[in-house]
Symmetry: C2
Subunit: 453 residues, 2 copies
């Protein structure tokens, strides 16, 4: 391996092993034996060929912001960090396409594009430190998915190193493609278990020149959730439609130390609603339509962000909700997703399950997509209850989610920590098909072992 990546780009240093042995999933740490920092696809191909021959487990790592343990090297072995592969290889402004390496931080990519008037809309909360390669591997979402879709809707083509070292392209650099089976979409969201993504071709669009942002308080979380489906039925598609329970916004206010809006006693939940586009007049009309809908759902006084500073402050609250929770208690985050009109029932189910098992929860998320992040707090629960009883409660929530047409991960992935719940959403036949795909790509099971299937 030393010969492949060079002396300076291989490490067995304990701190480095530790840094590459955890992500943002709970407090889990698994140490690899070696970490390498390759710079080219050829190096990755050579590494994979070697590891495949020697049956060395390989885990590929991006920014380490994962919430399902997808990048944890649970069987030790080699970690391939993509951090040195962080360049834009080709910005094709004529065709609205960019070819980028997996190790680029998503927000850096977005900022570079924005300077050219181009827009890559997918903005997970972790965009400031997660890598675009990791985003591809989890099929990441974020607030704007409600209008612009998730990663899978923006990836045109991928260069991938297969576990045996072979290098393939999964598709073509075109907006349409009906040529064979869709390997691109098979790779997106595969959590690094099928191949190593080494180049990513994304489609871009013009950067919307106008955004309007509003924050609406509700007397009950359920009426906030109920308003969500009604907004879409009014004909408006917001570019973000985020839900926060009272404690989420309260904790976030405390965490960031700023109070951009007064929080009234009766405000039990908020919707953060953004519309974007190119014509300000139409956006004002959209906001008016939305306001009329909200009034029907026991909504308090709506706050319109008047300037960029206010917008930034509101987004900061929402984006820091996860960190605020993390700062408050040991917790588990569940990434439930349902058809959006089922949100009120999902929220009720979460709270009922909490009462039954004795846990508190903080819920927020991308309500427009029906994607609710359920943060279950350890609080004063005993370790025994936390480890042995809680999974039963989570199972009950997930079974409810499945029963209304939803599933157990909207954007975080299955990784390590959700594996044991897969039987809820997949039949044995479906599970066996998933395993068959894994075997086809990675017959020796060396790539990200112990994950997903």
């Amino acid at each position: 391996m030393r010969q492949i990546v060079g002396e300076a780009h291989l490490s067995t240093d304990e701190t480095i092993l530790h840094n590459n042995g955890h992500d943002e999933t709970e407090d889990l740490v698994y140490l690899p034996e070696v970490v390498v920092f390759p710079e080219t696809v050829t190096q990755i191909s050579q590494l994979m060929r070697l590891c495949n021959a020697e049956l060395i487990p390989v885990t590929v790592r991006g920014g380490g912001s994962g919430l399902a343990g997808g990048a944890l090297p649970v069987e030790g072995g080699l970690v391939i960090s993509t951090k040195r592969m962080d360049k834009i290889l080709h910005l094709d402004e004529q065709n609205f396409q960019v070819t980028v390496e997996p190790g680029m931080i998503t927000e850096n990519l977005q900022n570079t594009l924005k300077d050219k008037g181009l827009f890559y809309p997918v903005d997970p909360s972790s965009k400031g430190w997660s890598f675009i390669g990791g985003n591809v591997n989890t099929n990441a979402g974020g607030p704007r998915a409600v209008k612009y879709g998730v990663v899978k809707d923006h990836v045109l083509n991928l260069e991938v190193v297969l576990p045996n070292g072979d290098i393939i392209w999964t598709g073509a650099n075109t907006l349409k493609n009906s040529t064979g089976y869709n390997l691109t979409q098979l790779m997106v969201g595969s959590e690094g278990t099928l191949g190593v993504v080494t180049k990513i071709v994304l489609k871009l669009q013009p950067y919307p020149t106008q955004q309007l942002l509003m924050l609406a308080p509700f007397r009950s979380p359920e009426s906030a959730c109920a308003a969500v489906a009604a907004i879409f039925q009014s004909g408006v598609t917001p570019s973000a439609l985020e839900f926060m329970e009272r404690n989420a916004i309260e904790w976030a206010i405390r965490y960031v130390g700023e109070t951009p809006v007064p929080l009234n006693d009766e405000d039990q939940a908020h919707l953060l609603i953004e519309v974007d586009g190119f014509h300000l007049e139409s956006l004002y009309a959209d906001c008016e339509t939305i306001s009329k809908v909200l009034e029907q759902f026991d909504c308090g006084e709506i706050f319109f962000a008047d300037n960029d500073a206010q917008k930034t402050a509101l987004w900061k609250l929402r984006r820091n909700a996860p960190q605020a929770v993390k700062n408050n208690s040991i917790y588990k985050e569940e990434d439930t997703v349902v058809p959006r009109a089922e949100l009120p029932r999902l929220l009720r189910k979460v709270k009922e399950t909490g009462e039954k098992y004795g846990f508190e929860s903080v819920c927020y998320g991308h309500a427009g997509d029906g994607n609710l992040h359920v943060n279950i707090l350890k609080g004063t629960l005993s370790d025994a209850v936390w480890h042995d009883e809680l999974p039963k409660g989570i199972r009950e929530i997930f079974e409810f989610v499945k029963s209304v047409g939803g599933t157990i991960s909207g954007e975080h992935g299955i990784g390590l920590v959700q594996k044991s719940y897969l039987d809820i959403v997949f039949s044995p036949v479906e599970m066996e098909l998933q395993r068959g795909i894994k075997r086809l790509f990675d017959p020796n099971g060396i790539l990200n072992p112990g994950k997903v299937v």
Copy 2:
């Protein structure tokens, strides 16, 4: 089989075998031995179980509008027609979702949805007779794909009968899903080779209340193509951006017997451009922006469709171009797709290849997507040249397409007639992965044998 579907829904009648033995691909006919018309997923499951045990080839058939021979029963055996499975099973207006059977005609589905203010945007030219199941299997596109995407961007979940008779669902009824490998996207565009799609869950959106349509003539086809990329760079995303060579529009005018616009001698190509949305004022602004762009590309006088009758007449011309060509000569239609800024070069390559091999061509297509339908006319070519020489010319065009980042089918699929060109776009390793997926789903190779891989 008789017991499974009932006496009345099985046929060996010669006319029925013939009707189910061809689609819209050239003049190809392959007769099956039996045609069945099942009504339920259980019946299809039983049929597949039987055929898998007895190794009987099975080809599933939709509306028969295919242009790549994907539904031709080349090995005889059983044809399963989905025409009796033509119902909307559940229209979920709250969640903007519809669950539909595969045998529903796409336009019927769209009209039913439109009455409720809901929009399923994918509108292949064949929408009046193609089935939604066939659209799913070819990953169909059509004019609106440029703004709204192709079928794959609208399918949330599929019920599928596997070749062995097992029934699975591929995903969840959610807008986001990061739970395991994406079997939904693997099935979309798989041309009936991996499983039988029996239920389709589509996401919907509000029906845009406003459309504006304009037709712009150009002195050269290449300047028309060059204008396409420039329109997007202006920041406007049209809901359709169609290209027609002069002979395409001329033949279509003759074929439909209507002349909605005067055709001047110097008009060598046209762009048909639509914008849609909810705010008429913004659409007028978009049209103004587009007009300014077009002026820079030697554009003639732009015709704005003032009323619905004019809009219908213009769309009728574009939609009838394929039939007009068909009516004129034996032909082959190639479904090339490239990054859209490469369109002028692609068009030049087609014409140069035509001069080299002595064929005429009529080109039109979804220029906004870079998807150019190249119709190669037999005209006065001898059978020998048509069968032996022409494939070399097509190969040259496809090799060019690949060299600029494109591929050989944008929306028609590979089916039977494009199989021999797959080596141009797939490396041996990529091809072997594709074959591996086929083997995983259909180890006995009974489902739509002889297609794609």
